[in-house]
């Protein structure tokens, strides 16, 4: 009776073990080095801020889904990632209620009202950050480091002052909680690449395009900067939210293109926009705005870069 041992079923026959919650858990783990460095660098207020934003994000998601009689999805870790990313994007001196308000806005308005995970049209953490940045510009751009209120290296760069690239690489500089240390961010990014969660297409194109843009156009903004000035390019690459944005926020699955060609276009767009905002814009930083604008263009990018089905088209 051998046929009884054969089980008939329709495809798929092999399922991947990779699930949304696995991926989000990996991203959370990859963010921990940057978070740990932020707490070490800025002290306990930074830890409080990270805990506040994460808790507020998870609670908002839970309460909304409970009230709307939807499936509770807080254990897929996506709200944790949103809250943590927002926390890493907050200045350590901002009051906690501001972080909580940002989390509520990001989860409720940007994510849940548009249909929850997978439906959000822009990165919830960045949407929340821009909401706070526009609403509370003063508090969101005041950076106190070692008891001294001073400009971030990017702002100094814009004013034409000299900056110390080594400190920027390690992260001993004023800035938001998670963006200062390039090394800590790269450690997390390497972990994600090794685990196969992200690949180099978007961040690589983003960083290279941005470096080329700054290399070419940097000389038009400052008289003492030459064509492809290595010191100037390095400072721009290590400063501000570029690294955090490129590795962790531009690569968000929901808000980045799924086509390979589209990912290159998206990365290049991000690089050019960030360069434009930083060099010619009013404020020193432009990563968050560049990413959310590009998020909005993703459906269009996917539409034009849709690959042809096998056998369709070709030469006539």
């Amino acid at each position: 009776m051998s046929e009884n041992k054969l089980k008939m079923s329709s495809s798929p026959h092999i399922r991947s073990k990779v699930t949304s919650s696995n991926i989000m858990l990996m991203v959370t783990i990859a963010l921990l080095p940057a978070a740990a460095f932020g707490v070490w660098n800025f002290g306990l207020p930074a830890l409080g801020m990270l805990v506040t934003t994460t808790l507020a994000a998870v609670l908002t998601e839970y309460i909304y889904e409970k009230l709307m009689h939807k499936k509770i999805t807080v254990n897929d870790f996506s709200a944790v990632v949103t809250g943590l990313l927002l926390g890493l994007n907050m200045p350590p001196t901002a009051p906690y209620w501001m972080g909580a308000l940002g989390s509520v806005f990001g989860i409720l308005v940007v994510k849940q009202l548009f249909g929850g995970l997978g439906q959000n049209f822009m990165n919830p953490a960045l949407g929340a950050r821009c909401f706070l940045l526009i609403s509370f510009t003063g508090q969101m751009t005041t950076f106190i480091y070692d008891g001294v209120s001073g400009p971030t290296p990017l702002a100094m760069l814009k004013d034409g002052q000299a900056v110390d690239s080594m400190n920027m690489l390690i992260g001993r500089i004023p800035g938001t909680i998670g963006e200062t240390s390039v090394i800590a961010i790269i450690i997390g990014a390497i972990f994600l690449i090794l685990m196969g969660i992200i690949d180099l297409r978007i961040p690589g194109t983003y960083i290279v395009t941005f470096a080329v843009f700054v290399g070419i156009f940097g000389q038009f903004t400052k008289s003492d900067v030459g064509l492809f000035d290595p010191q100037y390019i390095t400072s721009h690459l290590c400063g501000g939210g570029l690294m955090l944005g490129a590795w962790f926020m531009a690569t968000d699955y929901v808000t980045s293109p799924i086509t390979k060609k589209g990912q290159y276009v998206y990365g290049a767009l991000l690089g050019i926009l960030t360069g434009l905002f930083r060099l010619f814009g009013g404020s020193a930083e432009g990563v968050s705005y560049a990413i959310i604008i590009s998020n909005l263009l993703v459906p269009l990018i996917e539409k034009v870069t849709l690959p042809k089905p096998f056998g369709k088209g070709g030469e006539k």
Partner: protein
């Protein structure tokens, strides 16, 4: 409910131009940075709407069908010019804060929409009440949006400091205004929020068994209608005289 109060109810609640018909979005989003701006914009639109409805209703037998849009525009523009000069003379501060949006009342879709769908087909008196209803509905919508934006965005209501503001220099605790609400994105957020709220209220009322009519137009349903010449074009009131 006679036909006049029905017109008022229709304009303010049932077919509220801001929250139900979604007409006149340009001034709705642009000028509602404060409650007084919303109120001023709403009332000036109401004045123009009532006068143009009356005039167009009186002229409805004379205006040729093929030229009706230019004719409507001329009528509306004349009234807008009068209102504009009156506002410049008597309420210059409001005139300054509304700016370009006063002349833009000429192309406000509520006014042209009511002229086209109601005043050009109905006698003067109902048209006046239709104008008052729609205008007040617009005013209520704009003022509501303006109040919410002003309270959240600057802690004030009609210019009066409702919530004491925090002062960073003296360390005094208080309300920290969420500035985004008096900027452009806030208009979209508040409009969407209030529209959702009124839909929720109407849905709840419907569940409780209260009769909430939501039909736009003749209210009969085109499937059961025998008037094949209409084709869904008629926006009557239920009291046409044949």
């Amino acid at each position: 409910m006679n036909q006049y109060t029905e017109r008022l109810y229709n304009g303010i609640i049932k077919e509220n131009p801001t929250f139900v018909l979604m007409l006149g979005m340009c001034p709705t989003l642009a000028v509602t940075t404060s409650a007084i701006n919303g109120l001023g914009m709403g009332l000036s639109t109401t004045v123009v709407l009532v006068l143009s409805n009356l005039m167009i209703s009186l002229l409805r037998k004379i205006i040729p069908d093929s030229l009706r849009i230019p004719a409507f525009i001329v009528v509306v523009a004349s009234f807008v010019t009068m209102v504009q000069f009156l506002m410049e003379g008597f309420v210059p501060s409001l005139y300054d804060s509304l700016g370009i949006y006063i002349p833009l009342i000429v192309v406000n879709c509520i006014i042209l929409g009511r002229a086209e769908s109601y005043a050009s087909k109905n006698p003067p008196l109902p048209s006046i009440f239709d104008g008052i209803g729609m205008g007040l509905g617009f005013t209520v919508g704009l003022t509501a949006i303006g109040i919410v934006r002003e309270v959240i965005g600057s802690g004030k209501i009609f210019g009066f400091q409702l919530l004491p503001l925090a002062d960073a220099s003296t360390g005094q605790a208080g309300y920290v205004p969420v500035t985004i609400f008096i900027l452009a994105p806030g208009a979209f957020l508040v409009l969407a929020g209030l529209t959702a709220l009124q839909n929720k209220v109407k849905n709840n009322a419907k569940k409780k068994g209260k009769k909430v009519t939501e039909t736009v137009g003749c209210g009969e349903g085109c499937a059961a209608c025998t008037n094949s010449a209409c084709g869904g074009k008629i926006f009557p009131t239920g009291n046409e005289k044949e």
